[in-house]
Symmetry: C2
DNA sequence: AACGATAGTTACATCCATGTAAGTTCCTTA
DNA sequence: TAAGGAACTTACATGGATGTAACTATCGTT
C-alpha cells in the first residue's frame, strides 16, 4: 500500500476522483469511439447530460490534458474535441472496467436483490 | 420525474458509479493488499474515512458481492472482511488505473496549472 | 426584422454523498 | 460499580455536484 497514502492529500486519489464523476468516463469513451467530435455531436451521443455539465466536464478534462479543444473562428461557432495522447493512454484502463462491468453486472444485480429483501 | 435517472437506465453506468464514490476503490485495494481484515484494521489503514462511511461502503460492496462479511458471535463483536472472487477479478483493473494515475499525475498537475492562470 | 444555428455563460435551485456526534449492545475486567 | 471495547446505528448537518432555465454573440437566411 505505498501507492495510496492513507493520510493527507493524495494526488492519486485526486486524479482518480476526477474520473469518478458522472460524465467524464462516458465522454472519454465516446471520443475514443468516434474520434474528433463537435460539442453538439457529443451532446447528441450522450443525450441525458445537460449542456452545462457537458461544458463543465469538457473543461475539466481539457484542464487535465486528457482532451484537446479546438475553436474555429466561424459563425456559427465550431468547436472540436479529441483525445490527447494522455487521454488515449487512459482508454484501455477505462475499457477494462467497462468490460468487467459488462461481464459482472448480471451477477451483481442478482447479488443486490439477495442483500435487500 | 421529468428525466430518467441515468443510472436507472444503463447497468454499466450503474455498476461503475458505485466504484466512483469516495472510498470503494480504496477499500478494495486495501483488502487486496492485506487479505482478511477486521473493521478496525481497515479503519486504521484508511485513517480519514468516518466510521459511518466505512460501514456504508462495506455494506454496498457486500451487497454487490465484491467483499464477504463474516460475523463472529463474540463479545466484543468481531467482524472480518475479505474480497470475494468477483472482487478479486476487479482488482487488476483498479490497479491499472492507479498505475496510470501514478505515471500521469505529475504531468496532469502541470497541465492544471497552465489552464488556471 | 425576425429567426435559426452553435457553443456556450450565468444565476439560481436541489439533491445526494459525506460528515459529525451521540447512542446502543453485551460481556469482561478492574 | 463502573468503565472499556468492537462494530455498529440513528439523527441531523453540510457542501459540492448536478440540474434548470434564461440569456449571450454573430451572421446568413427567410
Amino acid at each position: 500500500m505505498k501507492n495510496f497514502h492513507p493520510t493527507g492529500n493524495c494526488p492519486v486519489r485526486d486524479v482518480l476522483s476526477r474520473l469518478g464523476d458522472k460524465w467524464s468516463m462516458l465522454v472519454l469513451i465516446t471520443l475514443s469511439a468516434n474520434g474528433t467530435m463537435r460539442f453538439s455531436d457529443i451532446h447528441k451521443t450522450i443525450a441525458d447530460v445537460s449542456q452545462r455539465m457537458l461544458t463543465v466536464t469538457l473543461r475539466t478534462l481539457e484542464s487535465d490534458g486528457l482532451i484537446e479543444r479546438k475553436v474555429y473562428a466561424e459563425v456559427p461557432p465550431r468547436v472540436e474535441y479529441c483525445l490527447t495522447e494522455r487521454g488515449s493512454s487512459l482508454i484501455p484502463h477505462i475499457q477494462g472496467l467497462v468490460d468487467w462491468a459488462l461481464q459482472q453486472m448480471s451477477g451483481i444485480m442478482k447479488s443486490r436483490v439477495l442483500h435487500t429483501p
